[in-house]
């Protein structure tokens, strides 16, 4: 497989923790927001936005840019953090999350926020929208690609599978989906609420190329993304096993941290932990 230098892997791993710190800060300041699902996606979003996808904050409308769809829109805080670090807007603006008049809405809004490709919030839309984008690229003979991040509760929605069928029908090698497989949803573990296993088998039978990885291992993420790009004749899915709330010990694996703002005490404990992990990663 492709050889990513250790320095790059280290840099990106550290950056993921910077994003986590921003997420905690943002949600604490706003008094609401989705921490659990933002934390589980931090490495994935970092790998995509800071390395794998071709995007340019100075040209948000660059026609040949790669498109990232945050279909699990409640992870908006980690997307916003990434966009701020990339320079689409200032880090200070992150404090305005969910405030009146803010450009940073509770869920991604393509009309208000620079760098957001598509509005999301209610779940299930990203794959079919990704299909449409991938078809548009193909019609234009363009080389840009589409990457969609979905949640594991989200894939309970029927329209996800409508999109999956269509992607296979149209042989969309330029479409990659990543499942942030943190095994938790709002009401409890996915296995209890509505089991989705055998998940790899499902995607395979729908005609997708499947790869399972540790979603917090930066090297595995980078390699899986490169590999997905090589697959030309069908869409690819990466099942990224993650931990909801990853990075803060008392949040990890806890479904109640899906959408709960931390208390002052929880906030400072979380920040200490994250800073330590970032500096000692």
């Amino acid at each position: 497989m492709s050889n990513h230098p250790e320095a790059l892997v280290q840099k990106l791993s550290k950056l993921a923790y910077d994003l986590r710190l921003d997420v905690i800060r943002m949600v604490y300041t706003a008094g609401s927001g989705h921490i659990g699902g933002s934390m589980s996606a931090a490495e994935i979003v970092t790998a995509l936005m800071f390395h794998h996808l071709r995007i340019d904050p100075k040209q948000p409308n660059w026609p040949d840019r790669d498109r990232f769809l945050l279909s699990k829109g409640h992870a908006a805080p980690v997307l916003y953090a990434a966009l701020a670090h990339l320079g689409f807007f200032s880090i200070e603006e992150l404090e305005t999350l969910r405030r009146l008049d803010s450009r940073l809405q509770g869920h991604p809004d393509r009309l208000r926020t620079p760098g957001v490709e598509m509005t999301s919030g209610f779940l299930g839309h990203g794959i079919a929208i990704g299909v449409g984008l991938a078809l548009a690229a193909r019609l234009d003979g363009a080389r840009w690609k589409v990457c969609v991040l979905v949640g594991d509760g989200e894939i309970q929605a029927g329209v996800i599978w409508e999109g999956a069928m269509a992607a296979a029908k149209f042989k969309l090698g330029n479409l990659t989906t990543i499942v942030d497989y943190n095994h938790m949803q709002l009401d409890g573990p996915v296995d209890e609420i509505m089991p989705v296993e055998p998940l790899g088998d499902k995607w395979r039978s729908f005609g997708w190329r499947v790869r399972e990885i540790n979603g917090h291992n930066m090297r595995q993420i980078l390699e899986a993304l490169d590999e997905a790009d090589q697959v030309q004749d069908r869409p690819s899915v990466i099942l990224a096993h993650t931990t909801k709330g990853k990075g803060v010990s008392f949040m990890e694996g806890e479904h109640r941290w899906h959408s709960r703002a931390p208390t002052k005490d929880e906030y400072s404990r979380a920040v200490s932990e994250l800073e330590w992990k970032r500096d000692n990663a």
């Binding site: 009309l111 839309h125 299909v131 078809l135 329209v159």
Partner: protein
């Protein structure tokens, strides 16, 4: 109207290479198959997956294409309602939603295939333009206008032949009503297939010495406020007529406007708060409150309440 629609898509598709067409397994009924045969690379059949189809269209629009999305009006506006609300209306993507077999026009298939509250659903969505062409001539012009219009559009397509009222010189503008007949005693405002019935009703009223103005409203949203207000102020009584529920469609739009600004007696012709049944199209229209006699009766009723 669907044959003319199929041709209209082909015509526009020939001049704009960015136009794409989507269907959900009914392309032979909607006549989008014509486009599909001529431009196979720009035609996407999603199978029986209407919600997914709308989202695919959204992606195509984000990618710079002009997608025309085709399926039954009630599936488009009910099954795919959240896709339409979130990804078309709220995100303001340039998607053109074509609601086929609208009203009772798929008459024999029965109420599951009818669509009599699609207009109220679409009208209540911000950023949505809602159009009901009166006939095939107008529809063909609308396809071009809708394609070139920047923003979400919902347009009804009738399954059957509709009386032709317009000629080629008829100028069509999105949002502009058309005054078909002058009159002073009352105004009858119609949309779609009901427009020709409104004209028939006006003739009957004329025979009784009543001078009825007839307006054709093809754009329910944005409504031609000026034309409707002028009618309220100048004639003092209104009747609306649509192939749709009396809840929330054209009647609703006119009621919302006039009760706020210039209340006059208003009667709404349409299907009541009920589902219809299987049967021949004209019979269903007559049985479910959309006959010419219904328009005449409602006009008389509105007139009797005029102050």
């Amino acid at each position: 109207m669907r044959d003319a629609y199929g041709e209209a898509l082909l015509e526009y598709g020939t001049i704009n290479p960015n136009m794409v067409v989507l269907d959900a397994d009914i392309s032979s009924s909607t006549r989008t198959s014509n486009f599909g045969n001529r431009f196979p690379k720009r035609f996407f059949n999603l199978g029986i997956a209407e919600a997914g189809m709308v989202d695919v269209a959204v992606g195509l629009a984000l990618g710079g294409k002009v997608p025309f999305v085709n399926t039954f009006a009630s599936l488009l506006t009910l099954r795919a309602a959240e896709q339409v609300r979130t990804c078309v209306a709220y995100a303001r993507t340039n998607v053109k939603l074509m609601g086929h077999h609208a009203g009772l026009s798929d008459s024999f298939d029965g109420p599951t295939h009818h669509s009599v509250f699609d207009l109220s659903v679409m009208r209540s969505m911000p950023n949505m333009t809602v159009i009901v062409p009166t006939d095939s001539v107008e529809m063909r012009k609308m396809v071009l206008l809708v394609a070139e219009y920047d923003g979400p559009v919902y347009m009804r397509i009738n399954r059957e032949e509709v009386p032709i009222l317009s000629d080629e010189r008829h100028e069509v503008e999105i949002g502009k009503g058309v005054r078909l007949l002058d009159g002073d005693d009352i105004t009858i405002i119609g949309t779609g297939i009901m427009v020709s019935r409104c004209l028939e009703a006006a003739e009957e009223l004329a025979a009784r010495g009543i001078s009825a103005r007839v307006l054709e409203i093809h754009t329910l949203k944005p409504l031609d406020d000026q034309m409707v207000m002028a009618a309220a102020q100048e004639t003092g009584a209104l009747v609306t007529a649509e192939e749709h529920s009396i809840i929330g469609g054209l009647g609703g739009a006119v009621a919302e406007l006039t009760t706020a600004r210039y209340p006059v007696p208003l009667e709404r012709v349409g299907i009541g708060d009920t589902f219809a049944e299987s049967g021949p199209y004209p019979d269903l229209l007559d049985r479910y409150g959309m006959g010419v006699t219904n328009i005449v009766e409602k006009a008389a009723s509105a007139l009797s309440r005029k102050r």
